[in-house]
């Protein structure tokens, strides 16, 4: 009897904490959606801000965020996948490789402001890219690389050894084996993990604050050396730095909702992509 009671209490608490977490997230989402929808309009999405963002829209910040994410994707994806292939397929598994892998996992946990300062020092100042899309993308790429590498390694590890053996036993070289019978099955997992990592980077403020974000720049960028406005930073300014902060709730919530939708959109792409490829190459 007593055991049963303890178990029931335990399950009750676990269920309660789960509901609590879901409730908090739901509350935040609902709050943003309900208060953000009135602020959304075609004008809000398609025009530049006026009067420091108190009027007009957020188009430059949307464009800036999307450019930044695409830049990050283009830089980080090939580097991350290449490193993962090397680490899991070619590098001799030993103490050194282990240290490298552990180092990468540790990097994934480094605070984003540290990456921001690193980007400021290396890309903005030393390499003289200035505060620009290029510097920001490179910084975000550094920040997301560890996650991409780890996700890609997991995807490679998930490919059964028997496929590799079968291919090698037929006289394929190691690279042919990887190219034809490892990568095709692991790319979906790699892409999915990478998109999720970059989606998370979309909401980061600290790294871009130091390397790319413009306080107020109501025009679209014309090259990768331009500064841009970006949604998270714009939101921060509207909410805390703006002289009329209390009077422009609709702009603040509207911006938050758009940022949320972009991140969710990224995640949705990842999920749909994975589902499509799962069907094509299913082995278990």
């Amino acid at each position: 009897m007593k055991k049963l009671f303890t178990e029931r209490v335990g399950i009750f608490f676990m269920r309660a904490t789960t509901y609590l977490v879901v409730a908090v997230i739901g509350w935040i989402l609902l709050d943003i959606i309900i208060k953000g929808i009135p602020g959304l309009s075609w004008e809000f999405l398609s025009t530049a801000p006026r009067r420091s963002g108190a009027e007009g829209g957020i188009l430059p910040a949307i464009v800036g965020t999307v450019y930044l994410l695409l830049g990050t994707l283009i830089i980080a994806l090939p580097l991350g996948i290449a490193s993962a292939i090397y680490l899991s397929e070619y590098a001799q598994q030993g103490r050194f490789t282990n240290y490298v892998k552990r180092g990468i996992i540790t990097l994934a946990g480094v605070p984003s402001i540290v990456f921001g300062l690193f980007g400021l020092g290396l890309f903005v100042i030393y390499l003289n890219f200035g505060a620009s899309i290029l510097s920001g993308s490179l910084t975000l790429a550094c920040m997301t690389l560890p996650t991409i590498i780890v996700a890609s390694e997991e995807a490679l590890k998930a490919v059964p050894r028997s496929f590799r053996e079968a291919s090698l036993a037929l006289g394929a070289t190691k690279w042919e084996t990887i190219k034809y019978n490892v990568l095709p099955y692991s790319v979906p997992g790699m892409i999915t993990g990478s998109i999720l990592a970059i989606g998370r980077a979309a909401g980061e403020t600290a790294p871009i604050l130091l390397t790319v974000a413009a306080f107020y720049l109501p025009r679209l960028p014309s090259s990768v050396y331009d500064q841009v406005m970006v949604l998270p930073y714009h939101l921060y300014i509207l909410a805390t730095q703006h002289p009329e902060a209390a009077l422009i709730r609709d702009k603040q919530y509207g911006t938050a909702l758009v940022l949320l939708l972009i991140v969710l959109g990224f995640n949705l792409i990842a999920v749909l992509y994975r589902r499509r490829f799962r069907k094509k190459y299913q082995w278990n």
Partner: protein, 253 residues
């Protein structure tokens, strides 16, 4: 009549790191016959099999000493062309492992990586290989289907066809029927009988009856050593060694 010898090993030792797995193996395997490797788990028979196509190379820290020749050519050297070796020495694994692709793609993969590009040539080879593996009639109308939708026995015959498609001289089989039901096992065994006139077949098996049914020669391994090697008839009727007798009669294993 002296038999034509295909594979000869002389004083072969094999190590996984510090652990020695094979001790002083000297054996002469005749061409175009079936040789069964038997012995209890961990006796080194699979390791020996994988020495013959250098599959052990993919495990870090393995090394061998001694000589292994195929048609008089040593294959243990560091600078051996593994692609060429594995093209000559095909392998079928314990657990069927078709690629998650179509039946056609599975068979055509080997020839393609060895440079065959002509579509008709490929199609002809796919048909020939599947026919040799006694699978053609069952799959000829659905070559585009996923290989993983085939039954277990069909998948294993597909893997045999895949190995045959690169036109090897030797076929290594690592317990090819151990995961199959009796009917599928019989088909594989019949297939081995049909293939042996053309290929030198080395088969690892845990199944004594199977070794007796399919093989011409049998080698008994125990704790990394070759205990006895001879005609299958002899090994199963009057083994020279006490341990061989105990094993083949089921007293241990």
């Amino acid at each position: 009549m002296a038999k034509e010898l295909k594979i000869i090993t002389d004083d072969l030792n094999f190590y996984y790191g510090e652990k020695q797995a094979l001790f002083n193996i000297s054996i002469e395997l005749p061409a175009k016959e079936v040789t069964a490797l038997i012995g209890p788990s961990g006796c080194g028979k699979s390791t020996f099999l994988r020495v013959l196509n250098r599959m052990n190379d993919i495990i870090d820290g393995t090394r061998s000493t001694g000589v292994v020749t195929i048609d008089g050519e040593d294959i243990t050297g560091k600078d051996i062309d593994l692609v060429a070796l594995r093209k000559r020495v095909g392998m079928v694994f314990q657990k069927s492992n078709p690629f998650p692709k179509s039946i056609f793609e599975n068979i055509a993969y080997g020839p393609k990586i060895h440079g065959m590009t002509d579509k008709e040539e490929l199609s002809a080879l796919v048909e020939k290989s599947l026919t040799q593996a006694a699978l053609w009639d069952e799959v000829k109308d659905r070559l585009g289907d996923k290989a993983l939708n085939l039954s277990g026995g069909q998948q294993q015959r597909l893997c045999i066809a895949r190995a045959l498609a690169v036109e090897p001289e030797i076929l290594l089989m690592d317990e090819p029927a151990s995961a199959l039901d009796p009917k599928a096992t019989t088909r594989i065994e019949n297939l081995i009988g049909e293939l042996k006139g053309e290929y030198t077949i080395i088969i690892v098996t845990h199944n004594m009856q199977q070794a007796a049914r399919v093989s011409d020669n049998t080698a008994f391994f125990y704790e990394g050593r070759l205990i006895e090697f001879g005609l299958t008839k002899g090994i199963f009727t009057k083994p020279a060694n006490k341990r061989t007798e105990d094993y083949v009669t089921g007293r241990f294993g």
